[in-house]
């Protein structure tokens, strides 16, 4: 939001000339949006994204303060820097939105996702699936003689990697929560 930090007198051109158009580099940002948990609040946020043509890569939402009725919405979105700024400003305009944090620019964040992964198989494939699960620290939360349900937590990349490995071993179904994120440090 702030102006370009060009020292007064250091250039004769306006900043407009230095950056003639907005950058078209696509960036992925994780936003944490604290909202009043009232009916329709999620529809407002999603409606903003669809109505203005922004992307949602992942979205998680749950009430985090049961007494204050506030929910935390974590949105991973992709766009040019200007679009990301617009998204934040537009989110800030929604009346029940209290705070918008761009975790990607605010000093980094811890991002985790939980996935449940159902794999069918017998014999060697079944053993291999178990072995890989062990390496990924995935837990078995359901088991039959022909299938497992693994629970895995980690970054989206780790979940992706595990899912890719399970595919040839008999992947049946995947359920993912989307990213939950908190900024690092205080």
């Amino acid at each position: 939001m702030s102006a370009l930090n060009i020292k007064k007198g250091s250039t004769k051109h306006s900043a407009y000339n230095l950056r003639p158009t907005f950058s078209d580099v696509q960036e992925t940002h994780t936003l944490a949006v604290l909202v009043d948990n009232e009916p329709g609040v999620l529809a407002r946020v999603i409606g903003l994204f669809s109505g203005r043509g922004y992307n949602i890569d992942s979205l998680t939402v749950a009430e985090v303060d049961h007494e204050g009725h506030t929910s935390r919405i974590t949105i991973v979105t992709t766009g040019t820097p200007q679009v990301i700024e617009q998204i934040k400003a537009q989110l800030g305009r929604i009346v029940p939105v209290h705070e918008v944090h761009d975790l990607t620019v605010e000093g980094g964040s811890v991002e985790r996702e939980l996935a449940l992964i159902k794999v069918e198989g017998a014999g060697d494939k079944r053993v291999e699936a178990l072995r890989l699960a062990d390496i990924f620290r995935a837990q078995v939360v359901d088991s039959t003689l022909e299938s497992f349900v693994f629970q895995i937590t980690g970054t989206p990349e780790k979940v992706d990697a595990f899912v890719d490995l399970m595919r040839p071993l008999g992947l049946l179904e995947v359920a993912r929560t989307g990213v939950a994120a908190l900024s690092r440090g205080m």
Binding site: M1, S2, A3, L4, K8, S14, A15, Y16, N17, R19, P20, T21, F22, P39, G40, A43, R44, G47, G51, Q82, E85, Q86, A89, Q90, G92, R93, I94, V95, P96, H98
Partner: protein, 584 residues
């Protein structure tokens, strides 16, 4: 001790506590309890419109002409859906409205009940905020909050959807003063560091221009006063968007006229050639900027706006100042005065000399015709014959709207009601009704085209019922003039569906409603006819038959920058490239 009352009574009580004395609306099954309460009191006057869209536009006109929020009461289902256009219009133009809709009882919501619609769902993207009230105890608090949201920060429309059982049930009334302080408190004071940067830029700029918008009007009369003071003291030229007309007087010596697609040559050339652009309460709308990569290429840009999302939305800003126009201008003046009221006199006088050259082009000149009334002439005469009167002008949307903005002079804020952002044909007539309700003794004129005017002509009933002497000044070219103009410039003169056939006899139409109609076809009769309209103490439909194929100039063709204006018929050939043609 809290007062217990029914939800319906609460609505009326809350409106009164908010200082509301005027409501525009239309009854129906789901709001009957509220209408029953309105019947049993005198503090709030209800104006019965003829269509819910008319109610919302009337409330918009009322709001724009008073600075107070407009209030609308309509029923569920079709009542609410008919209000959608007005809500969107108010959202685009930042007009504060509180719209109350009835809803089917809570236990029937979701059952596809008679006249049920998902009103909060439908109106979510076209309101600033909306509420479905499911508990009578919360109703009055929500209405108070609704007024707060509608009028704080960047104003806009809000909607409160009230199920019928909530209206019947009793609950505790929350006094206005006891309402929990909303966390919604937009920032009004601008950042002093950036304000100082702006003042430094003001001190040294060689070719500055003020570019002002509707935000100045919305900030209140005080903001217009501060703007005038700043413009006079610096001697900078000033132009304005359609929405900002009247903030600085058209008779002021620094006035360049409106800018943008149909703006004045001197205004657009100044925007293109300036080295400091000070945007005050405008939003770099596409009607203003033209081609973005060639928009004012050599300027530093300051942008004062209360809405953070307006900053850097389309144009990169060097000095973004988030805050209320009035507050920021006050600080700008304070800092500028404290630093010795400096401007670059030498640069400024050269700049004005260039502007004078552009002014000599006289881009609004036209040749009056002896046979047909040219629309520009009609507005020139209307201006001359109403100048100095307590005058409010509304418009519909199209060529006549642009001509009105070009040829009429606005001396004060809140005197000009037009649909800028959404471009809603059918806005002007109901808006004029709202303005006249707010200012019963003022002269209220709706400059209209015949096609726009027909879109909400049913409101003649409202005008006549409440004896509102609104003057409907229809520039009748029997065409959808702006559509026709674009078809001429862009689509090989194939005038697809852009003529008005089977038009009514407007004089008879007026008489059928019990109003006065005037037909004028000859330029020689025009002055007398206008005087007859002005002298009539009642609503008038003035059918002014004008030149049918007049085009609206000057014009920046789509996809072109400010310095590529078309000034008249001769310059139009192949003016719009294929890239420009896809833009509206």
């Amino acid at each position: 001790m809290t007062r217990q009352m029914t939800g319906a009574k609460m609505v009326v009580q809350a409106l009164k506590d908010q200082g509301v004395d005027t409501v525009f609306g239309y009854p129906g099954g789901a709001v009957l309890p509220i209408y029953d309460e309105i019947f049993q009191q005198n503090g709030i006057r209800h104006y019965l419109v003829r269509h819910e869209q008319g109610a919302v536009h009337a409330a918009e006109g009322y709001a724009r002409a008073t600075g107070k929020p407009g209030v609308v009461l309509v029923t569920s289902g079709p009542g609410a859906t008919n209000a959608v256009t007005g809500l969107t219009d108010a959202l685009m133009d930042s007009i504060p409205l509180v719209v109350l809709t009835g809803q089917v009882p809570t236990f029937m919501i979701g059952s596809d009940a008679f006249q049920e619609a998902d009103t909060v769902g439908i109106t979510r993207p076209c309101t600033k905020h909306n509420w479905l009230v499911k508990d009578t105890d919360r109703l009055s608090g929500i209405i108070h909050e609704a007024f707060h949201v509608a009028t704080s920060g960047r104003p806009g429309p809000v909607l409160v959807d009230i199920p019928k059982d909530v209206q019947f049930a009793s609950g505790a009334y929350t006094e206005k003063t006891k309402v929990k302080v909303s966390h919604y408190q937009p920032q009004v004071k601008g950042d002093m560091e950036t304000i100082t940067q702006l003042v430094e830029a003001i001190e040294t700029a060689e070719r500055p221009v003020f570019y002002t918008g509707g935000g100045v009007i919305n900030s209140g009369p005080g903001a217009s006063q501060l703007l005038r003071e700043l413009v006079e003291a610096t001697g900078f030229p000033i132009t304005s968007t359609l929405m900002g007309l009247g903030a600085y007087p058209a008779s002021g010596k620094n006035w360049l006229g409106m800018l943008g697609m149909h703006g004045l040559y001197e205004a657009n050339m100044s925007m293109h050639g300036c080295d400091l652009m000070i945007n005050i309460g405008a939003r770099f709308d596409d009607r203003i900027t033209g081609r973005l990569d060639a928009f004012s290429p050599k300027s530093k840009k300051a942008h004062i706006d209360i809405d953070p999302s307006s900053i850097n939305k389309v144009i990169k800003t060097d000095m973004p100042i988030i805050g209320d126009v009035g507050h920021v201008l006050e600080d700008v003046l304070k800092v500028w005065k404290a630093r010795g009221r400096k401007v670059n006199r030498e640069g400024l006088s050269k700049w004005w000399a260039r502007i004078e050259e552009w002014r000599k082009v006289d881009c609004l000149k036209y040749k009056p015709s002896g046979q047909a009334i040219r629309p520009q002439y009609a507005l020139d005469r209307l201006e001359a014959l109403t100048k100095g009167r307590d005058r409010y002008i509304c418009t519909e949307v199209g060529q006549h709207q642009m001509w009105a903005a070009q040829y009429l002079g606005f001396e004060d804020p809140n005197r000009w009601m037009t649909s800028g952002g959404l471009g809603t044909m059918g806005y002007g007539f109901p808006a004029s009704i709202g303005v006249q309700v707010a200012h019963p003794d003022a002269l209220v004129i709706n400059v209209a085209g015949e096609a726009s005017w027909l879109m909400n002509m049913q409101e003649m009933g409202t005008a006549v019922q409440y004896r509102l002497p609104v003057k409907q000044f229809i520039l009748n070219n029997e065409r959808l003039g702006m559509v026709r103009q674009w078809q001429e410039l862009l689509h090989g003169e194939r005038y697809s569906q852009s003529w008005s056939e089977a038009l009514p006899d407007f004089v008879k139409l007026a008489e059928a409603f019990g109003a006065k109609g005037i037909l004028c076809t000859d330029p020689a009769d025009l002055d007398d006819a206008i005087m007859e309209m002005l002298d009539h103490d009642g609503p008038v439909i003035f059918d002014c038959l004008v030149e049918k194929h007049e085009n609206c100039f000057p014009m920046i063709p789509s996809g072109e920058p400010h310095n590529k204006m078309l000034l008249g018929e001769a310059s139009t050939k192949d003016a719009i490239g294929t890239k420009g043609a896809v833009m509206v």
